[in-house]
Symmetry: C2
Subunit: 343 residues, 2 copies
């Protein structure tokens, strides 16, 4: 199935580049609200399912045992920028379980937050696994292992008890059995399972509302949502889409990015889950798509609509700060139409 | 016209992302050798036409007057990484014309070469316009202004004599008149003119062979080609596609990348010019496309084919260095077929 053009990149008088993609907006009962492009093909959700992957941290009792609050829980759901505060919370999570950064198996990379990266270099430092954008999630995995009393070494492998728990949570929320035939290794070395966008969106509708979930799981999801809403800085970082949007809307929006142009999210008050993928893997387009869907389905005040505009129609500036173009969503994405939008 | 899928991004057992694009391979007489996708729509070539934009530097006599050798001429064609040697040559070019980095109007950014960026930060430094990937091209522009005895201030504006010369060179090589209606501002603040891929490829066939050009222009093009072949490091930098490919093939390949997924190049011995654009603007895909076209049209030894493979089918590794996937060209791009490939 051909994916439509959903985002245009403008420069001067031309459309310079175009991004295609697929979108699924699904309610908690599994009914399709909006389908654009191929929602049935398996997609690697990558980091966009971190909120689902964090469920075992709460359900196992580890979050309570180690005294985790909103900062820790938000960081467990995060693709963070490696800013000092992110690193500090990841370290604190590990320390509560008697571990340190050496236990992390996610690999090291320079902070994606440029100022933090330059400051680290300026101090003569080098990046560690704590700076990895996934270190909060991995710290959570390690806490699950410690809580269960199992050897944490190799916790990234598909066969380790921690990853089996994570897989079970994803299967329960999405309602599908994932398969080794549709599996890849993620940037941080854990398995990423191929899931159709429709199932991912349904999972986020359940996660966002608790509908159709056992009470303990609904409660765990609510606690993670509340943590992200209370501490959005710890879900991404300074100036980043997920943090800024959740700062703007609080508990009304859950938004989580993933590599290769994936975005998942929930609009709890509307009972909707969202999953999308930019076909070519571009984050810049996935962000525009996500912003357009929030604007389409969330009732907004004038101020909120204006604040969301910079994510929905971001301006491109060159090295002299001159506005040279921008991105914009295609009309089929930004316009709500009776008969297409079911609710 | 719909652009075909030309590059696949693989992870585990799935195609995770897909890149569409358009390709034009044209000979010096203007005959189409290969056309895939929309070759007629105007494309902003961005930095991919830097070799054409450097023609006035030689034709004006400035390169001779200021004693420029291969390093300076290669840097004038470059999108460099801001490595110390790049910055040194840009400074030297400006000093020869009695100027310094303060005359550059390209704006400043951190070196794209990560180690140089970290070293700059570590030393307590900050980026200047000399670190801008376009500083060599801009140093060349300033030398053209000084040679002509015109005020260099505002040399980035479309109406400045330097940009009028640059525009005239592009129009002559492409054989088309560019238009204010299809114009954008580039990252470095000079105009970028919309040109069809067919015309860009024809321009590079002429640039690569000198055919159809006045003798002085053919000679200037040959001198720029020889400079890039002799000093490919100064066209891009450590580990970068353009530098590595020209190091591998010398004068047999001219390859120049541009922002938003553009690539231009020439195979002088085959008399061919190449222009391509990845529809979504992704450099990673444009590089695979360019490598596939080189492999398709340039006779290669076994060793050369093997060396080119890492650009044509690059491996993706995660933060632990594990091979998690890769990119590959679509069959229609990598396979030469009688009846489709004219020569």
């Amino acid at each position: 199935m051909r994916n439509p053009e959903l985002v245009e990149v403008l420069r001067g008088s031309l459309v310079e580049s175009r991004h295609r993609g697929a979108v699924a907006v699904i309610d908690a009962d599994g009914a399709a609200v909006l389908m654009l492009g191929d929602g049935a093909a398996p997609v690697f959700p990558r980091s966009a399912v971190k909120p689902l992957q964090a469920l075992p941290l709460i359900e196992s009792g580890a979050a309570d045992r180690y005294g985790f609050g909103d900062e820790e829980l938000a960081l467990a759901c995060a693709s963070h920028g490696g800013e000092p505060a992110h690193v500090a919370v990841a370290s604190r999570m590990l320390a509560r379980a008697g571990l340190d950064g050496a236990a992390l198996e996610c690999g090291a990379h320079w902070p994606s937050h440029q100022a933090s990266s330059q400051a680290l270099a300026r101090s003569g430092g080098a990046p560690s696994a704590l700076h990895n954008n996934c270190s909060g999630k991995h710290a959570g995995f390690l806490c699950v292992a410690c809580m269960a009393g199992v050897d944490h070494h190799g916790y990234v492998a598909a066969g380790h008890p921690v990853q089996r728990e994570v897989r079970a949570a994803i299967e329960a929320l999405t309602g599908i059995g994932v398969s080794e035939d549709q599996c890849g290794i993620d940037g941080c070395s854990i398995p990423t399972w191929g899931v159709p966008l429709t199932a991912l969106a349904h999972a986020f509708a359940r996660f966002g509302t608790g509908r159709g979930l056992p009470p303990a799981r609904a409660s765990a999801a609510a606690r993670l949502r509340a943590a992200c809403a209370a501490q959005p800085y710890f879900v991404a970082g300074t100036g980043r889409f997920c943090s800024e949007v959740m700062k703007l809307f609080g508990a009304r929006v859950l938004a989580k990015t993933g590599a290769e142009g994936v975005f998942c999210g929930a609009l709890p008050d509307q009972g909707l889950g969202i999953a999308l993928k930019c076909e070519d893997g571009a984050s810049r387009a996935a962000e525009v798509m996500m912003a357009a869907l929030i604007a389409r389905y969330l009732p907004l005040s004038g101020d909120e609509r204006a604040a969301l505009e910079r994510f929905m129609r971001p301006t491109l500036r060159n090295w002299n700060g001159i506005a040279v173009g921008g991105l914009r969503p295609a009309t089929m994405l930004s316009s709500r139409r009776p008969g297409i939008d079911n609710p």
